[in-house]
């Protein structure tokens, strides 16, 4: 069976199966969820390992997933499967992943597997909780694997609705954030972004007449169409990333959500936005991307610096990590804005690394919040004494987040910065790159403060009885996440090989878009100049 399909079907099937299980059989519910997500993880790993060598068995199938027309041996999308659905509308169920998609599928698989294990502590409405969680993750897998715009959107909506329930029912209200408010805001902004993107996607369908994403890549939209619809599609996805100033839903949502949902939210949902920008906005509209991306390069600096400084002002641990996520997604956007091979490779790798790191941090905050019922730094302190394991893990997560070597975040963030510096001719003379380096300093400020205030120093009397992760099952998710960060931090090449496979065609498109724009400008200039001067203008243009 196709491993990609299996990866998607496992949580879907488990969702359905859970409906028929007695809600008091908590052990069975947990077991089914763990096995299903474990199967997804196994399949994702299988695909990751076999990715370089994968070939289609049937030439006909292969052709359907070859984006580069004419190069039948270059299969950009692997593990493809296509089933026609409504032929009149050109709707078909098509799955397939390139390197970018696979990296995201793997990220999702890691996080949901650990998320399910972290959620063993959930006591109320266990059955409904896992149903929502698995439905959510089915949607996320679907988005990353879909090659049909219709299903892309369908899966996207499938992910958002359980999110609403998960935060609304199992979330918490604290001093800093009201649960209902946060839930409503999150869902409304996610939906608003989605609607924006939907308008764009409908326009794309109207223009090209197909939902087939492989065909759409080759469609070649006119430059005027691109110029109008790129911003629409881009903004729709950017709200998800979340790009400044559309970000305020995200930290509040984190603060109200239960641990596993925060993990998925920061780890995966944010990446849906960045993935959409790369997979749809930049791929379909490369010419417009060339025009607009430098402005993204300005906005992402707000993400990095503003997000970081707002995190400095926070005392609620979840808000700190929440704003830090928005700050780090600024690096992803910077990598995208650089439109260079190094930068986008770094951006996708950072999406993976940041997802794992932030999931680890949120899981740990959830662990002690369940016991302390406060996340305020002023109430905490000295917890290293009673929770050495959790404390060590939190220090590791902070070090990873602060971009220290040995962790995947370091490699990817540095690649983004190098890419942005490399693209300094188009990206504001390297100023965003300089600000991004300064962002690393700011990251250090709020993370070290969080580490020191919560974990070091004297332990208040009332926290004497906090309990550490002791059993194997309790420790496993943390060890997995840390291990992933360390393995890809020491040995990033396997991940980069996979990512590069997906990024390379995209960068080629972007380069072609830039060339087309330059040609356009040159032609326009030629038209404005009288005949005799044409020769000079041409050499002038080429001399640049």
């Amino acid at each position: 069976m196709n491993p990609l399909l299996l990866c998607l079907l496992a949580p879907a099937a488990a969702t359905i199966a859970l409906f028929f299980i007695d809600e008091n059989a908590k052990k069975a519910i947990r077991a089914i969820s763990t096995v299903a997500t474990g199967l997804s993880l196994a399949m994702a790993l299988l695909m990751f390992i076999g990715f370089g060598d994968y070939t289609y068995e049937h030439a006909a199938t292969a052709e359907a997933f070859t984006a580069n027309a004419g190069a039948a041996d270059e299969h950009v999308y692997k593990y493809g499967i296509a089933v026609d659905w409504v032929e009149e509308l050109g709707l078909s169920f098509r799955l397939g992943v390139d390197g970018m998609g696979l990296a995201m599928v793997l990220l999702t698989a890691f996080i949901i597997f650990c998320g399910v294990m972290v959620s063993y502590g959930i006591k109320t409405r266990v059955k409904e909780y896992y149903i929502c969680l698995l439905a959510l993750v089915t949607g996320v897998f679907g988005v990353f694997a879909s090659l049909d715009l219709f299903f892309y959107y369908f899966f996207y909506e499938l992910a958002v609705i359980p999110m609403f329930l998960l935060i609304g029912v199992w979330g918490s209200t604290t001093k800093t954030v009201d649960q209902n408010y946060a839930t409503m805001k999150l869902v409304l902004l996610l939906s608003a972004g989605a609607v924006f993107a939907l308008i764009g996607l409908i326009a794309v369908y109207g223009e090209a007449g197909t939902f087939n994403m492989v065909a759409l890549e080759e469609h070649g939209f006119s430059s005027s169409f691109q110029m109008i619809w790129f911003p629409v599609v881009f903004l729709g996805f950017a709200a998800l990333v979340p790009m400044w100033p559309l970000h305020s839903w995200s930290p509040a949502g984190h603060a109200a959500a239960p641990a596993a949902v925060s993990m998925l939210h920061a780890g995966v949902l944010m990446k849906l936005g960045a993935f959409g920008i790369l997979r749809i906005a930049c791929t379909y509209f490369p010419q417009a991307a060339d025009t607009y991306l430098p402005y993204v390069g300005i906005l992402c600096c707000f993400n990095i610096i503003y997000g970081g400084l707002v995190a400095v002002a926070q005392r609620d641990m979840k808000l700190i990590i929440g704003y830090s996520s928005s700050s780090h997604m600024g690096y992803v956007l910077l990598g995208v804005a650089s439109a260079s091979l190094i930068g986008i490779n770094g951006a996708v790798f950072l999406m993976f690394a940041h997802g794992i790191m932030t999931a680890l941090a949120f899981a740990l905050i959830g662990w002690f919040y369940d016991q302390t019922h406060t996340r305020m730094l002023d109430d905490l302190g000295g917890m290293m004494k009673v929770m050495p394991f959790a404390g060590t893990m939190f220090v590791i997560a902070s070090m990873a987040s602060a971009g220290l070597p040995g962790f995947a975040n370091f490699v990817s963030e540095l690649m983004v910065i190098i890419g942005a510096w490399d693209a300094r001719n188009v990206l504001w003379f390297g100023v965003p790159a300089i600000l991004a380096v300064w962002g690393l300093v700011i990251t250090g400020v709020y993370l070290l403060r969080a580490v020191k205030d919560a974990w070091f120093g004297e332990l208040p009397e009332r926290w004497k009885n906090l309990k550490d992760q002791r059993t194997f099952a309790e420790r496993t998710p943390y060890v997995i996440l840390t291990g992933v960060l360390l393995i890809f931090g020491f040995w990033p090449q396997p991940m980069l090989n996979v990512v590069h496979q997906g990024v390379e065609p995209l960068v080629k498109r972007l380069d072609a878009g830039r060339e087309a724009n330059e040609r356009g400008t040159r032609n326009a200039r030629l038209e404005r100049i009288d005949e005799p001067a044409t020769q000079g203008a041409l050499t002038d243009g080429e001399g640049r």
Binding site: L188, S223, V310, F410, V411, A433, N523
Partner: protein, 680 residues
């Protein structure tokens, strides 16, 4: 590294890159043995909890490094020529082109530094056995200490800028972990944070400097048909600078080379604690004393100096950068020496002394005397580690008393410690021609000779003055600690053998290490200026370091004056320090550390926190409250209005339809308009 590039290098003549042989694989073992131990100790609870086992593993990993490095040093092919043993693998590649490589490089410079790190490190690792005895988490301590040795060796053996940056950060992490070792103490946590953040600020400049050099060299080596991505490599940068000349290479605009060099120096400014980023080092004394000795005196703080020597070809050609570096070094040397005079904590005296000596080294870097800087680094590593360990022994013997006012009379109570401290003090204050005498006077000589630095005469005078101040504060500390009567409460005792043996070993080296730099002409004819210079001369550009004899005699005289003043004031002072009354305002300025720390505290507490608060205010009230919530209010109210639109009146529907059509039409027109303007 690809074959074409090796050919390119070979065509340029020396040096020869050899990537096989004993030295290149030994380097990997030397580098990774401590990491393996650090990992085992941290990850395997059984080893961590067995303190003795963890210590034994750590000590043997450093010992193995020392033995192997000695073998490499005596390795005939390295001795014979100016060979480089380099072994490089691709670490991060984009598609087929390597972006970041990882490797080990063994050349004369790296071997010298590795010997210092493993040699001094071995002595201190053994010493820590005694010092940390009774600490229940000694395993944890040794794990982190081994991690530090790994990180430090990574910088030493790094063949490219990026790898240097990786280990640069790792050294910062291990420093953070070890300063905060006593994490229950509030001050230790704060000091660790301060050290980390100050270094981060330095690294901000460092990374930008690396990127600037990378971009310039990458563009230039592209002309050779080389892969631009290898432009992090020191060898590539050196060749590019030497072949093309800095002015061609750093094409962009005037000052590019100088800015790049100054930014690279920012990294050294953080790690080697140069003014204005010197504030973290004295606070770093919160860590255990062995940590202070190895990291915050002998090796880690010297990493900045080492790194600049490693890429001296960037600095030497960089317009005003040498002047900047030399001046910052001179200023650091002076202010640190003056602050050392006011300290009463024995470790703080040594910490400021370290700052001051690092200032000397930085002066030498600015003056282009790279060998002199390396020479002083080497001798300083031995005698300053010795002094710190002596201080540790005193603290241990006095039951964790660090205030010199509560010491005194330890000369007879701790004879071995006193004798070795005496050797260290002589070596540091350069009263007799051992260790520091040779190396410091070489630096002063270089400041005299150089033509790269504006205002070098002033710096020379400052340097001589600092020699006197050094003698003053060191003998002040000596008299307060060892002279007179014992003023403390607990009964002092001499430290155990495991602690005094390393002291004796380091004292031995402090006595004799200086002789590697005796000018050849001193005892007969010679071709090179001295042996150490001859060993390293291939690895730097610019003039050879020379000893300027008259200057050396003047400096010694000034040091003697400093010693005599200290003797007069403190010999019979007991616990009272008469100096504050005599110096008045100047003392207060020094005692308050020139108010630099206060200024930074203000910057962090008021400015940074203020900006953060302003942004948070904007986020909370303008963005969320006004825009987002305002929008939702608008939607709610307009929802009420829209309800009335469903009025059933045809006219309203027609109006709405027309409005909608107009919007769609507008979009279509916009597209058509763009199409005609855009050319497609």
């Amino acid at each position: 590294m690809d074959g074409a590039f090796l050919t390119f290098l070979a065509a340029k003549g020396e040096p020869t890159l050899i990537n096989t042989g004993f030295a290149s694989w030994a380097a990997w073992v030397i580098l990774f043995a401590p990491l393996l131990v650090a990992f085992l100790v941290t990850a395997v609870p059984a080893i961590r909890k067995a303190n003795g086992l963890a210590a034994a593993l750590s000590i043997s990993s450093v010992g193995l490094g020392l033995v192997l490095t000695l073998f490499v040093y005596f390795f005939p092919m390295l001795q014979a020529g100016d060979n480089v043993y380099e072994h490089i693998v691709s670490w991060v590649a984009i598609g087929d082109s390597p972006l970041i490589t990882f490797g080990t490089r063994m050349d004369a410079l790296a071997v010298t530094m590795t010997l210092v790190v493993t040699g001094v490190g071995f002595a201190i690792f053994v010493y820590a056995l005694g010092y940390m005895k009774g600490d229940e988490s000694m395993g944890r301590f040794y794990g982190k200490f081994a991690l530090f040795v790994f990180s430090m060796l990574g910088i030493v053996m790094s063949p490219n800028f990026f790898q240097t940056f990786i280990f640069w950060e790792l050294v910062g992490v291990s420093s953070y972990l070890l300063i905060g070792y006593y994490w229950r103490k509030h001050s230790a946590g704060e000091a660790a944070k301060k050290a980390f953040m100050t270094n981060r600020v330095g690294d901000f400049g460092f990374l930008l400097g690396i990127l600037m050099v990378w971009a310039a060299v990458g563009d230039a080596t592209g002309a050779f048909g080389q892969d631009v991505y290898s432009a992090f490599d020191f060898t590539v940068i050196e060749r590019a600078v030497q072949t093309l000349g800095a002015s061609t290479l750093f094409w962009d605009s005037i000052g590019y080379a100088a800015i790049a060099a100054a930014l690279v120096f920012c990294g050294a400014m953080g790690k080697s604690a140069q003014f204005p980023l010197h504030v973290w080092l004295p606070d770093a004394m919160e860590g255990p004393t062995p940590v202070s000795a190895l990291m915050h005196a002998a090796t880690m703080v010297a990493a900045g100096v080492y790194m600049i020597i490693r890429c001296n070809f960037i600095i030497a050609y960089a317009e005003w950068a040498p002047t900047l570096i030399c001046w910052l070094g001179g200023i650091t040397a002076f202010i640190a020496a003056s602050m050392a005079i006011t300290q009463n904590d024995i470790k703080k005296v040594l910490a400021y002394s370290t700052l001051s000596q690092l200032g000397y080294m930085t002066m030498a870097l600015g003056a282009g005397a790279y060998t002199a800087a390396m020479f002083h680094l080497t001798t300083h590593a031995f005698f300053k580690a010795l002094l710190f360990l002596c201080a540790g022994s005193v603290i241990h013997g006095c039951h964790h008393e660090q205030d010199m006012r509560h010491m005194g009379g330890l000369k007879s109570k701790m004879p071995t410690t006193y004798k070795t401290w005496f050797v260290g003090t002589i070596a540091l204050t350069a009263l007799l021609p051992i260790a520091g005498w040779w190396s410091k006077d070489e630096i002063l000589g270089a400041t005299r000779i150089t033509d790269m630095v504006w205002g070098s005469e002033i710096l020379l005078a400052l340097g001589v003055l600092v020699a006197g101040m050094t003698a003053f504060y060191m003998w002040r500390a000596t008299y307060m600690t060892f002279g007179g009567e014992y003023r403390g409460h607990a009964k002092p005792h001499e430290s155990p053998k495991v602690m005094t043996m390393p002291l004796v070993a380091l004292a031995f080296f402090s006595l004799f290490i200086g002789f590697i730099g005796i000018p050849d002409g001193t005892f007969g004819a010679g071709t090179k200026t001295n042996w150490f210079e001859g060993w390293l001369h291939h690895w730097h550009v610019g003039p050879y370091a020379k000893m300027v004899w008259p200057l050396a005699i003047i400096a010694t005289g000034v040091a003697l004056v400093g010693f005599l003043i200290a003797r007069k004031i403190y010999r019979n002072a007991g616990g009272n320090d008469p100096l504050p009354a005599k110096l008045g305002g100047i003392w207060r300025l020094w005692d308050n550390l020139y108010y630099v720390d206060n200024f930074y505290l203000w910057l962090v507490k008021k400015v940074q926190q203020g900006v953060a608060k302003v942004f948070w205010f904007f986020e909370r009230w303008i963005l969320i409250q006004a825009v987002i919530n305002g929008l939702s209010q608008t939607v709610r109210i307009s929802g009420d209005r829209v309800r009335r639109v469903q009025s059933g009146r045809l006219g309203n529907y027609v109006t709405s339809f027309l409005l909608g059509a107009a919007v769609v039409g507008l979009l279509v027109l916009l597209q058509v308009g763009l199409a005609s303007a855009g050319g497609k």
